[in-house]
């Protein structure tokens, strides 16, 4: 699918929501200008006649087998990094509302 001919402010706002990044209106406009400029530049890649070559992410080093010894950190060490704790748990705002059985029927 060809790229969008226009990268709109609405596109950018939707991306910010998707990425969970709050943006001020001023920053939205500034970023829209910057990113439009970059997208215009990289569009040249669309018109390249590229030779057939296998696409690999890692240039030269084969990934090792996934058999490394575990390096799991102690729960206490992890808990010390959390901004907010509730007892032994990392605290977050409520995500799921509490429903009664009647609500679900």
């Amino acid at each position: 699918m060809p790229p969008s001919p226009t990268f709109t402010l609405d596109d950018l706002q939707a991306l910010a929501v998707h990425l969970h990044i709050e943006l001020t209106p001023e920053m939205l406009i500034r970023l829209h200008h910057d990113l439009s400029e970059v997208l215009a530049h990289v569009a040249a890649l669309q018109h390249l006649e590229l030779p057939q070559a296998p696409v690999t992410h890692h240039a030269i080093t084969p990934l090792r087998d996934d058999d490394a010894p575990p390096t799991t950190l102690a729960p206490d060490a992890l808990a010390q990094m959390a901004p907010q704790m509730a007892g032994a748990w990392v605290a977050v705002p409520r995500v799921v509302d509490t429903h009664t059985e009647d609500d679900l029927t």
Binding site: L15, E22, L31, L35, L45, R64, A68, L73, M81, P83
Partner: protein, 492 residues
């Protein structure tokens, strides 16, 4: 006296310590004194561990006097690390409000190996937040200034490391290089910057930006110091899936071998990539020096170079959008506790914690990997990357080492740079190919511009030919002679 002590090479300091002509404590005290005097102007350190460094130096001095332990490659010398290598005893911020005050529960492989080699880590260096930037201006700690001219850029993102090494505020530093972030600041500050082959240094505990491109690298005042740092830090690490299954290097042993028989490829630069006169002169000078040292020179072309920046932008930003998803304000880092629902907490924490450049890259990375656009942008960039990699492989069938600019110009003025993101990306055109192809590359200063700022050239080699790269760089440095230090560094 103090300045000459601080500004001598890492190897000279290490050897003086080994022969008891100097103690590590004396060297560390001199270095810390210079940091307190010079760094208010440079802003190269985010944190300095004065008490820890002195205690470590005293411990090493005592061990040296009482034990028969084997010689250590970095025994007693002061080293700084970019503030993205996690350390247990010091905070790790990545120069971002997102990680302000963060202290890691584990130690990075790089800092472990530094300590195992006898280094004294004296602090952590300023950088662009999350290593995204070219001038060390996107730092929550403020910009780093170039020790050769405070109004000019120190480069980035390892600008703090480059400025500190140039000013003698450490003997060497470890930075990270995703698109040139070790080599470009090294060029601007007049020091050596080495990005080894992808996989040569473990990245365990190095905060990720773009995983298929990220590589730790070293900044030093001499080529020989870069070789000893490579020898100290290289080697397999099973904790890093991309770590090469190779033993540590021994580049110092072959550093002074002749380069007779080496074929030097000199990159043909078309009109669109013509560097400034000072850089063009530096390339001519380097070519002449290496020819005199015994290398055979031939001109080579790299047609894919013109699209390298586009490939890099798309791939690095896509990977960044994925890697930085972990900063959610819940498990660690910046958190807005006033938000009443989880989604708002995420948005405010990431909105407040990430700076402008990080947001720019994350948003673009998300856009070009979103449904409907991934094939047009991201997958296209991956295909183009394969083309560039093959282009370089073809090039290295006709030469052993490639000579090209590190940067199009010497260090630009710092003001106004952050308003032109595309231009900043385009300025990395000569460093990016080594990251896209995973190749070793090195920037070495060759002279000063008429305005008195350093001018450097870059050398690049096939994968795992790091020692050859250093040997050619050493020949160039020999022909050039000792490189001066910034005048401000000599005054303290």
């Amino acid at each position: 006296m103090t300045a000459s002590l601080r500004l001598q090479s890492l190897l000279a300091s290490r050897d003086a310590i080994a022969t008891r002509a100097l103690t590590s404590e004396t060297l560390i005290r001199a270095t810390l004194d210079a940091v307190s005097r010079l760094d208010p102007q440079l802003n190269s350190y985010i944190c300095v561990d004065e008490a820890g460094a002195l205690a470590r130096a005293r411990q090493l001095d005592q061990q040296r006097d009482t034990s028969s332990r084997a010689d250590l490659l970095l025994d007693g010398v002061p080293i700084g690390v970019k503030d993205l290598f996690v350390t247990r005893d010091l905070p790790t911020t990545c120069a971002s409000a997102m990680l302000e005050g963060y202290r890691s529960p584990f130690e990075s492989a790089v800092t472990e190996r530094l300590r195992d080699a006898g280094a004294v880590i004296i602090g952590k260096h300023n950088m662009d937040a999350f290593a995204m930037g070219s001038h060390t201006t996107f730092s929550v700690a403020g910009p780093t200034h170039n020790p050769w001219d405070l109004a000019h850029s120190a480069g980035g993102s390892s600008g703090g490391s480059a400025a500190a090494v140039a000013a003698g505020l450490c003997a060497a530093a470890v930075g990270s290089d995703t698109g040139g972030s070790v080599r470009q600041p090294a060029a601007h500050c007049g020091v050596v910057g080495l990005k080894p082959t992808y996989g040569r240094f473990s990245r365990y505990g190095m905060v990720a930006f773009a995983s298929s491109l990220d590589q730790a690298g070293v900044l030093t005042r001499t080529v020989a110091d870069a070789a000893v740092m490579l020898d100290a830090l290289s080697g397999h690490d099973p904790r890093d899936a991309t770590s090469a299954q190779l033993p540590p290097s021994n580049a110092l042993a072959t550093l002074t071998d002749s380069i007779t028989g080496i074929t030097l490829g000199v990159l043909h630069l078309d009109e669109a990539h013509t560097p400034s006169d000072e850089v063009a002169d530096a390339l001519d000078y380097a070519r002449g020096c290496l020819n005199d040292e015994g290398a055979t020179c031939r001109e080579v072309a790299l047609p894919s170079l013109q699209h390298a920046v586009s490939m890099y932008c798309l791939i690095s930003m896509a990977e960044a959008a994925s890697n930085l998803a972990r900063y959610d304000g819940v498990r660690f880092g910046c958190c807005d506790l006033s938000a009443n629902d989880l989604s708002t907490r995420y948005q405010r924490s990431r909105g407040d914690g990430f700076g402008l450049e990080v947001k720019r890259r994350l948003l673009l990375g998300a856009y070009i990997t979103s449904e409907g656009y991934a094939s047009a942008y991201y997958e296209r960039a991956l295909a183009a990357r394969a083309w560039l990699r093959n282009d370089l492989a073809r090039l290295f069938r006709s030469c052993d080492v490639l000579l090209l600019p590190t940067t199009p110009t010497s260090a630009p003025r710092r003001d106004g740079r952050e308003r032109k993101p595309l231009q900043n990306y385009l300025d990395d055109v000569f460093t990016i190919p080594a990251n896209l192809a995973g190749l070793p590359a090195l920037s070495v200063p060759v002279g000063l511009s008429p305005q008195g700022r350093p001018v450097a050239v870059q050398l690049m080699a096939p994968p795992f030919h790091d020692a050859t790269l250093l040997r050619v760089a050493a020949a160039l440095a020999r022909a050039r002679g000792p490189f001066p230090s910034p005048p401000m560094a000599e005054e303290v």
